[in-house]
């Protein structure tokens, strides 16, 4: 029988579906955890020692042509054996050739080619000496000495200046290999005395000089030589030298070492040393030391304001490493967020955006920087200060430019933050977003907080709060085109009627023909066609029902209006939850900014701030207790009203309480329909009847 089928149909539990502005999926979306970028350690494998090779390659590039890739120079300078080098330099140039070879061929830079030839000859010979097969033929090492002296003489015969330091290193190497230690030291002194201490080849030569001294038994001052050579790892008491301010402060190896070992060096020692070197006139790159101070102040000592001052000072100076300078600039964005100082925010965002857009850099790294700084610092700070508009716009900007961005605003952190606010707060944000300051104009270029989005969200939050007038005001400001693009409409999440759990039930009992329904219920009945403006129409209907209930003189009309209002309110959190929410389910995989530190000590950097604890918990979301309670209260109130039994029976019937209809309102039309049409006796028969059976 039809009634039986309706009951069975209606008894099916509501299926909770994932909804939102994504295509419907069973689980997810799954967002990657955002790795926390390093603001200090070298961006290469931080277990690797300082790479003089890269420094050398960069200097070769500066000496020859700035557009030669370092990899090409590496292939020629470091990897090509002597014979292959000689053959390649003489070979005709062709498209696709190694560009360093092309340079040597086309410019006839014989000075560079001659040097590389000699260097490779020396290297080949030294490799032979280092071979396990090597065995000297005489105790005087005459053959080896003669050969190496020949190389040395050729090095010392160079009369130019361009490659003098390089020839000097080769001479030192040859003399060391031939065990002429005193002559090696003397040669070093004569060639490098007037070159600066941070000269790469002077530092490299010092490694050999130190070896000479150890072979000669002059071990007393080797630490000083190691220091000058930048052989930081060979120095016995590195912290002692830092404490005593006796380091070769312009050797890049020291800065590399400090960057790598920042967590292991005594911080007080480093703090004192950095303060000294940051203002020392002999220091070439004071930016390094100011940034060390900033990082210590901010990350180790909790002195955020000082950190901000130091990083500002750092950015006015030069750095040893370009990537270190970049990290310092990024750190300013982070530390400013911690203090809420917006004075350089626009400049910092423009700068970081340029890094993200640049092909030469790792744009994923800079995206992570942006997200880390905004999510962990700016968002909590601005939230605590009640600057919700700034927070939402900045967060939306970071969402858009950062990683993990999905093609919908409804999966972002900014959306989750906004959704955690009251409707009036979101409305106020919408007003403030109309500002046209330089910062806002920049942020809005990459923001998802469009007027449609804000209006739609405000209206939905208002509905969630039961403020249907506000909901109507805002939802009516959302463009049809925007609504048509939302999945909750495209995927039939609003196909159910919030006022009637089974629309056929109304038709079956001919309620639709009753004057009561003709007056207003039919409108309610027609909500369920999944039109883009369903939310707005629902809000309007709720307003209408509320007005009718307050203004009608008829107890029957009032009761029915109250029932439909209560039912609509409850349904908007239950089976029609898409009216008031955007996600629902066991696991939505809503984005949460877990930050993982990318060091060998993986730890979770949770964003700080209570704003994150207030995020709406979709995973455990269900119809709030207060909504259920309110429905129950309203239902019992209207059932206690002066409405007629017929109407009360109809209400019970609409609420699936068939047994109550037959027991409490047995003489009503509805009870008669039930008794004569309902196949399932147990659905409507009262308890006594059940026992009789």
């Amino acid at each position: 029988m039809k009634l039986t089928q309706f009951i069975k149909y209606s008894a099916v539990l509501t299926i909770f579906l994932q909804a939102g502005s994504h295509k419907a999926v069973a689980c997810g979306p799954y967002y990657d955890d955002i790795p926390t970028p390093s603001y200090f350690q070298p961006l290469c494998d931080y277990n690797v020692d300082y790479d003089r090779k890269t420094e050398n390659l960069e200097q070769w590039r500066a000496l020859t042509a700035h557009d030669i890739p370092l990899a090409d120079i590496d292939s020629v300078v470091y990897k090509a054996p002597l014979k292959a080098f000689l053959d390649s330099v003489k070979a005709p140039d062709s498209p696709g050739s190694n560009r360093f070879y092309s340079y040597l061929r086309n410019t006839h830079d014989s000075e560079a080619a001659d040097f590389l030839t000699l260097a490779k000859e020396i290297e080949t010979y030294r490799a032979g000496l280092a071979s396990p097969w090597y065995y000297p033929s005489s105790r005087l090492y005459m053959t080896e000495t003669d050969a190496l002296n020949g190389f040395t003489d050729r090095c010392l015969a160079y009369g130019g200046t361009r490659l003098r330091d390089r020839y000097g290193l080769q001479a030192v190497r040859a003399l060391f290999a031939s065990r002429q230690y005193e002559r090696c030291i003397a040669t070093y002194d004569s060639i490098f005395a007037d070159l600066p201490a941070d000269n790469l080849f002077r530092r490299m030569s010092l490694d050999y000089v130190t070896g000479c001294m150890e072979n000669l038994g002059l071990t007393k001052d080797t630490d000083d030589y190691y220091d000058e050579a930048g052989a930081v790892l060979c120095i016995a008491d590195k912290e002692g030298r830092l404490r005593d301010r006796r380091i070769n402060v312009n050797a890049p190896e020291w800065i590399y070492y400090i960057r790598r070992e920042i967590d292991h060096i005594d911080q007080e020692v480093l703090w004192d040393a950095a303060q000294y070197y940051a203002t020392n006139k002999d220091v070439a790159n004071k930016g390094d030391w100011y940034y060390i101070l900033a990082y210590l102040a901010g990350e180790k000592f909790g002195k955020n304001a000082e950190a901000r001052r130091f990083v500002d000072a750092a950015l006015k100076e030069s750095f040893t490493f370009n990537d270190f300078a970049g990290q310092a600039h990024a750190y300013r964005l982070k530390i400013s967020g911690r203090t809420g100082d917006m004075t350089t925010l626009l400049d910092d965002l423009r700068w970081i955006e340029s890094r993200i857009n640049s092909d030469a850099n790792d744009n994923r790294f800079w995206s992570r920087i942006l997200q880390n700084a905004v999510y962990t610092e700016w968002v909590p700070t601005l939230w605590d200060k009640g600057r919700y508009a700034d927070m939402a716009l900045l967060c939306s900007y970071a969402d858009k430019l950062g990683l993990n961005y999905v093609d919908s605003q409804y999966g972002t952190l900014s959306f989750r933050l906004l959704e955690s606010l009251k409707a009036k707060d979101v409305a106020q944000i919408g007003v403030e977003l109309q500002k046209s300051t330089p910062l806002y104009r920049h942020l809005k270029r990459h923001s998802g907080l469009t007027p449609d989005f804000m209006n739609e969200l405000t209206g939905t939050l208002a509905m969630r709060e039961g403020n249907y007038q506000m909901a109507v005001n805002y939802l009516s400001g959302v463009s049809p085109r925007y609504l048509e693009g939302m999945n909750i409409y495209n995927c039939n999440y609003l196909s159910r009627n919030p006022f009637f759990q089974s629309a056929d039930r109304v038709m079956y009992c001919d309620m639709a023909k009753k004057p009561l329904f003709r007056e207003f219920a039919l409108d309610s009945y027609r909500i369920s066609d999944c039109a883009p403006d369903s939310k707005l129409r629902f809000a309007r209907q709720m307003l209408k029902l509320d007005r009718i209930a307050r203004t009608t003189q008829s107890p029957d009309v009032k009761a029915m209006a109250q029932y439909l209002y209560a039912c609509g309110h409850y349904s908007s959190f239950e089976n029609c939850w898409a009216l008031t929410q955007y996600w629902k389910g066991e696991y939505c995989g809503i984005f949460y900014p877990y930050m993982l530190t990318l060091t060998s000590r993986w730890k979770l950097e949770m964003p700080d701030g209570k704003c994150f604890t207030r995020l709406f918990d979709y995973e455990r979301s269900k119809c709030p207790d207060y909504v259920k309670s309110l429905y129950g209260t309203r239902f019992y109130e209207l059932m206690d009203s002066d409405a007629s039994d017929e109407v009360k029976a109809e209400i019970e019937y609409l609420a699936f309480n068939l047994a109550d209809v037959c027991s409490d309102y047995e003489d009503t039309y509805i009870a008669q329909i039930i008794r004569t049409h309902c196949d399932g006796l147990k659905d409507w028969a009262v308890a006594d009847s059940d026992e009789d059976e």
């Binding site: 396990p132 097969w133 090597y134 065995y135 000297p136 033929s137 005489s138 105790r139």
Partner: protein, 357 residues
């Protein structure tokens, strides 16, 4: 005139043939020409240092030649975990003063440097025998020069080559000879020959040394004496007289102790006192088992380990020598003892040593 021209041309041709190709005087002896037999001995330690007993031994037994192990050639993994063929266990010379002048007692001795090549290394260098030959010869030459080794007249290669490595080893021998010539070294090339190799092709060398020791399998738990056994030698001696290479013969005068654990070879040792009845129980004339309740882990042994004492007894050596001599016929040869170690040579009397020679 015509005749004079022909005469001059002939003289010129003869002169050209006679001109040496190297700056050194080279004496290339045909393989069939043998030097007079000389008592020889192998030296197989990693430090060349002779004590007075050893000098005395050399003198008493009129030893004129020492076969000196210079280094092994092995295949090892380097620090970057790549396999490479390198010299290993290079001899350290301590028979020189601080100026590098060798002990004058060595001045009348001939030295033959020996290089032992493992099969792994040989296989790894297959196809590059010329490169390996260059490495070996140059290194040995430098070692001889640096340490002023006197009277070096030959280089010996020691390799237990098999059927699958024979080609490579023979190629190495040829390349070594070429390299010796190119460096104008007055060296012949010799090779060790093992008993089982007597039935194989003859390596392209000038001279061979038949190793009449390690005749059994030392890792065989049931072997009685893997150093020397007449029964192990007998099957091979029939090929001696027809072997197309001048041979000298090397006999063992050493001993060792082999450790077996659960009938698996576990190692070589020396100096274990197997007469200690609190630790050992004799099972056979030359095997001793560690008692189950032995209270000490002496020598790294465990309960139930078996120690097999192997010695080169004079009777075994002389029996084998007799057999060898019978089968060699009248082929001139020298006898060589393996190896020079005063602690081992005390097992033989002077007469016994002389009778082996």
């Amino acid at each position: 005139m015509h005749l004079i021209h022909r005469f001059i041309l002939t003289l010129s041709a003869l002169a050209a043939l006679m001109l040496p190709g190297c700056s050194h005087e080279v004496s290339l002896q045909p393989a069939a020409t043998r030097e007079a037999p000389v008592n020889s001995i192998y030296y197989w330690k990693t430090v060349f240092s002779l004590d007075s007993a050893e000098y005395d031994f050399i003198q008493r037994h009129d030893i004129g030649q020492i076969y000196l192990r210079m280094f092994d050639v092995c295949k090892v993994k380097d620090v970057s975990h790549r396999w490479s063929v390198v010299p290993n266990a290079t001899m350290r010379f301590q028979e020189c003063d601080s100026a590098g002048v060798p002990d004058p007692r060595l001045s009348d001795l001939k030295f033959t440097p020996v290089v032992y090549i493992t099969l792994d290394a040989l296989r790894d260098m297959a196809g590059r025998e010329d490169f390996l030959a260059e490495l070996i010869v140059e290194r040995v030459a430098n070692m001889c020069s640096y340490n002023r080794l006197p009277n070096v007249g030959a280089l010996q290669l020691d390799c237990d080559w098999t059927g699958t490595t024979e080609q490579s080893y023979f190629a190495l021998c040829r390349e070594v000879k070429k390299k010796i010539r190119s460096l104008c070294l007055p060296w012949k090339l010799s090779s060790t020959i093992r008993l089982h190799q007597l039935s194989r092709a003859v390596p392209p060398v000038d001279h061979g040394v038949l190793m009449v020791y390690n005749t059994g399998l030392f890792s065989d738990p049931d072997a009685i004496n893997s150093i020397l056994s007449l029964d192990d030698v007998r099957p091979y001696v029939g090929k001696l007289n027809s072997y197309m290479l001048p041979l000298d013969i090397a006999y063992p005068v050493y001993g060792w102790q082999l450790i077996f654990r659960h009938r698996q070879f576990a190692g070589i040792a020396t100096g274990i006192d197997v007469t200690d009845s609190s630790v050992f129980e004799q099972e056979t004339p030359n095997t001793y088992r560690v008692k189950w309740n032995a209270s000490l882990r002496a020598y790294g042994l465990r309960p139930y380990d078996v120690v097999r004492n192997e010695l080169s007894s004079y009777s075994d050596v002389i029996s084998v020598r007799q057999l060898i001599e019978e089968n060699l016929g009248k082929r001139p040869h020298s006898n060589i003892l393996y190896h020079l170690d005063s602690s081992l040579l005390t097992n033989f009397s002077d007469d016994e040593i002389d009778s082996i020679y």
